[in-house]
């Protein structure tokens, strides 16, 4: 009889899905029972330009921000730095020099990316169209390698909490921005990503940012990732640092 109570409780969990109601087809799962994140994903928001609320400018669509509460708790000196970054964004933005975008910016860069996940597999691989960036999300229980290490994309170790993939990221450098509006961080950045399939075609992507050197408290971003459903869709290239030298290699 005991099993029955468990299943009822379990069903209860299933129905306490995140606020975003499930309207589409149900969450696909692998044989190991885990939600299957495999596929092509992309955002539709304008966080790539500015993760906070912003009105449109020429070539820059307006957008409702992805920062929960729309407030980034900078320390005073850091807010001044951010404003300075904004002034110089045309030249200071690392994306302008085609450098790797860092996490979580690479997710909402406005380019598609592809998630590869195998049943019971030790690693989830993500390939991003932007400058063929890739990330390995380790699920095999291994810890982060001992630091300090400064990587553009950091080191990702993950575990499942129910139907949510929780990815812990450390070992960042201080050279990436969170968007084109100058929002920045230090090498002490610690990012916790949460990927939750709300239905077959949408992921609720939530990110917690911790960096005591720059912010007075942790803060969160929250957005929807859309599965690309076009027939025969695939990633192409965005080799941005090749654009200027293309002509030398006809």
């Amino acid at each position: 009889m005991k099993g029955i109570h468990l299943s009822i409780a379990l069903v209860g969990i299933l129905f306490s899905l995140p606020a975003h109601a499930q309207t589409g087809p149900a969450v696909p799962r692998l044989k190991d029972g885990k939600p299957n994140l495999s596929g092509f994903w992309q955002v539709l928001n304008t966080a790539a330009f500015d993760i906070q609320d912003h009105v449109a400018q020429k070539g820059v669509p307006g957008g409702q921000g992805v920062v929960e509460g729309n407030e980034i708790p900078y320390q005073p000196w850091a807010l001044a730095q951010k404003k300075e970054n904004y002034q110089n964004r045309a030249t200071a933005d690392p994306e302008g020099r085609c450098f790797l975008l860092g996490v979580p910016r690479v997710t909402y860069s406005g380019r598609p990316f592809q998630i590869f996940q195998a049943s019971g597999g030790p690693i989830i691989t993500i390939l991003y169209e932007y400058a063929h960036t890739n990330r390995f999300i380790y699920l095999n229980g291994t810890p982060h390698p001992p630091g300090p290490i400064d990587w553009w994309m950091g080191d990702a170790r993950a575990k499942w909490e129910g139907d949510t993939l929780v990815v812990d990221n450390v070992h960042f450098n201080d050279k990436t921005w969170f968007d084109r509006a100058g929002n920045f961080h230090s090498e002490d950045l610690h990012v916790i990503e949460r990927y939750t399939l709300t239905d077959a075609d949408h992921i609720n992507y939530q990110v917690r940012i911790e960096d005591p050197k720059v912010f007075t408290r942790p803060w969160n971003m929250n957005m929807v990732l859309y599965r690309r459903t076009e027939k025969d869709f695939q990633l192409l290239d965005y080799e941005c640092y090749a654009f200027d030298i293309d002509k030398y290699y006809p």
Binding site: G3, L6, S7, L10, V11, L14, A19, H20, T23, G24, P25, A26, V27, P28, R29, G33, Q42, L44, N45, V55, A56, Q57, K58, P61, G62, G63, Q64, G110, R111, P112, E129, T198, D201, H202, M223, V224, Y226, R228, T229, E230, D232, F233, Q234, L236, D237, Y238, E239, C240, F243
Partner: protein
């Protein structure tokens, strides 16, 4: 079978069942009159606005698999030359660079959100780009007598099963189909098809006819995604105001 395995099995059974049940025809929202309900905020994810054909990436321009069926636009000879000429001067000649209305079907895949309102008389479609709007009448009224040259044409729709078929005529010859210089004449005739693949995706097809410019009709085909963010709404892209705003603090 220890406790955890039984939970996992139950877990799989419960979800498996749920999964099987919905892989049947997805339930699409329907309006009071039984027609599919297209109401909502929609947007494309492909970069067709840059080039509706297959194209490589360039600075500021993402690569894209084209939306033209067969990837070939059947220009007449003179017209292909004009298209190439357009391409060379696209930075200044593209009507969108001058903030003009983008025309149909370009306004659909321009990359900004638009909101569809629907009732039995027709659709009222508001676009974030330059607060453009289209009235798509489904009340059986005919196009007004031509010749008339509008940027967004005149649109009359009817339902064929669960597909909304929209006949659009009365265009001018000033809009482009994309930033790459693909163009048409004022004889442009567009037939759009909107059909809900499921609650959150519209299969959008548009057939282009223009005997003055093309040797035969051709079609584009793409997916429109329903915006799912909580409290998402249209904002503004007052394109031609950008240079003037500083005068009006």
């Amino acid at each position: 079978m220890n406790l955890t395995t039984r939970i996992t099995v139950l877990f799989a059974l419960a979800s498996g069942a749920a999964f099987a049940q919905t892989s049947a025809t997805p339930d699409i929202p329907r309006a009071a009159d039984g027609k599919p309900n297209l109401a909502g905020i929609w947007q494309v994810l492909n970069p067709a606005n840059f080039d509706i054909q297959d194209h490589q990436a360039q600075p500021g321009v993402p690569a894209g698999q084209g939306i033209v069926e067969g990837n070939e636009i059947p220009y007449q000879a003179w017209a292909l030359e004009k298209k190439k000429a357009n391409f060379k001067v696209r930075a200044s000649a593209d009507p969108e660079a001058k903030c003009f209305l983008p025309g149909v079907p370009r306004i659909t895949y321009q990359g900004l959100p638009f909101q569809i309102f629907q009732d039995s008389k027709g659709l009222s479609v508001l676009y974030e780009y330059a607060h453009a709007n289209r009235d798509i009448y489904t009340n059986g009224t005919p196009h007004p007598k031509g010749p008339i040259e509008w940027w967004l044409g005149d649109s009359r729709g009817h339902w064929e099963g669960d597909t909304l078929v929209v006949d659009a005529v009365h265009f001018n010859d000033e809009t482009w189909f994309d930033h790459a210089g693909n163009f048409h004449s004022e004889d442009l005739h567009v037939v759009e098809k909107y059909s809900l693949a499921d609650a959150d995706h519209i299969n959008y097809q548009a057939t282009i006819e223009d005997p003055k410019v093309f040797t035969r009709p051709w079609s584009i085909n793409t997916v429109l995604y329903r915006r799912k963010e909580k409290n998402v709404q249209l904002l503004e892209y007052e394109c031609y105001a950008f240079d003037l705003e500083k005068y009006y603090p």
